[in-house]
Subunit: 306 residues, 2 copies
């Protein structure tokens, strides 16, 4: 099946009108794929492998753009760190470990070399911290903003791979850390929850998991919809960054925390074991999945185009 | 080893002053890598695999940018085709076959959906034509130009993998097709030499190979340097696009033809067999590698920043 093309590309709605969810859904519907594609669009990563392979491959691409994800005068080391850690966070959200990264940088020809070196220093610090090998770099000229794209591979044991779509009615929903207010600083310095996600898949096999990048109000409905479930959310319980109101905790985005679904009968042992391994990071029950997929959430998270 | 960062990012040379070759060399020198990285930066693709694996993995990332690689009013289908075919051409240049692609599109929020659909139609046509599965798409907002990044995986039998660095003194140099003048139209509609490259590695095992993207004058010295060889080039023999002068055939860039080194004793049988398989595509001997690595070429190819 092919994506149909309008005879007049000037016609029709704009991205701001349709929004990102609808766009991604439209573009990726019916893409031809080979038999080894387990998951394509719609999850944190693509998943490749034969049904009985012991390990599956994870593939992720992600970009940060000057004027959208960071300001022009931002420290380039922090931009490099953020760019690679965003992709690592998506590998973590599948229960996987990251392996190889390819970097595309597009910059104006007047950009100082020292700025690019500093960007790479941030990339390398993140690569070092999380066991990633940077195996290629493309440079291109940009007519305007600095553009930095990360392509990252990873892998996960087949039996430990966690999708967004595995949640079941009755599963308990939890989040790591505290939500909201990331724009102040955390969005440039966050730690992807790689160790926590690996610990979870090795010890408590979540039924569904994702990383929170667009805000709980946008991301939780995605996980629930992928799992064909509805959800209840206990707003009073949502762990908030100090000084952040509940609306912002729901919608600010760029939390890079984990949203996790586990069967209710594993909750008590998970809550007992977690603080032994991660004493400084809260793990909070915020709601549960149910069998009414039509649940609506009254607040919207971040949409990249509206 | 780390890339050192200047204390003052405003100091030092610009990209236009240092040029792309020096930049990529500087950024990728001394990157930490795991033991499965066979080739990182410096070839058409990164190559991953254990020394005795029967197949090695190939990884490539590449971007096309509005105002740099195409004009704002260009047909989006042709842009999509070109973007994916550029990456396929790099997989082909290693002797490999392409597998899975991830697409990053950054566009202004006012861009019409029909334009993005048309871009995807071009991507899908190329994916169909060369056996690629598109397994993920990220969308982001761009403050300016349309930016399209392709991350592509592939694989190659270990014994058939061809690097830039395997050329030896005495090897004959050949190119496919005709060079120069791509900007008129071909750069948007070219056919990556996937079938030709596979035929070559299956039947004549080149010692070195690459695809010509920045012009023979820039790319041949790269292949020779990677092989620690010098070269002689017979300018009279260089196959030129009709109406294109020799200088432009050397420097225009975006030819997306193959540059191939083969041992001299295989030349006669290669030249006899080629027209049987590819009657419409010339294969031309243009020179040879030698043992004087200091050879200088008088003309410069395309540098992305100067």
């Amino acid at each position: 099946m092919r994506v149909r093309t309008s005879a007049d590309p000037a016609a029709g709605p704009t991205l701001a009108q349709i929004g990102e969810n609808a766009l991604v859904e439209m573009l990726t519907r019916g893409l031809p794929r080979d038999a080894r594609v387990r998951v394509a669009a719609g999850d944190d990563c693509a998943v490749i492998g034969a049904p009985r392979d012991t390990r599956w491959q994870l593939l992720k691409t992600d970009a940060v753009i000057e004027g959208v994800h960071f300001l022009p005068d931002e420290n380039p080391r922090r931009i490099g760190w953020k760019a690679l850690c965003r992709a690592i966070s998506d590998i973590a959200a599948m229960g996987g470990i990251p392996h190889y990264a390819l970097i595309t940088i597009a910059v104006g020809s007047g950009v100082k070399i020292a700025r690019i070196r500093s960007l790479y220093a941030g990339l390398l610090r993140a690569a070092d911290a999380f066991g990633v090998s940077i195996v290629g770099g493309e440079t291109a000229r940009s007519p305007g903003s600095l553009f930095l794209n990360i392509a990252l591979t990873g892998s996960v044991e087949r039996t430990r791979c966690v999708l967004r779509s595995g949640g079941r009615p009755g599963d308990v929903l939890l989040v790591t850390g505290r939500l909201g207010g990331s724009i102040k600083a955390k969005h440039l310095d966050f730690t992807p929850r790689l160790a926590e996600a690996r610990w979870l898949v090795e010890n408590f096999k979540p039924t569904a998991m994702m990383d929170l990048s667009d805000g709980l109000a946008a991301d939780l409905p995605r996980l629930a919809a992928a799992s064909r479930c509805g959800f209840t959310l206990d707003k009073e319980r949502i762990p908030r960054t100090r000084g952040i109101a509940i609306e912002r905790a729901l919608t600010d985005g760029e939390d890079y925390e984990l949203l996790i679904a586990v069967p209710a009968n594993r909750l008590a042992s998970l809550q007992a074991a977690w603080p032994q391994s991660f004493p400084r990071l809260p793990l909070t029950q915020i709601g549960s999945l149910n069998s009414q997929p039509s649940t609506l959430i009254p607040l919207r998270g971040f949409d990249h185009f509206t």
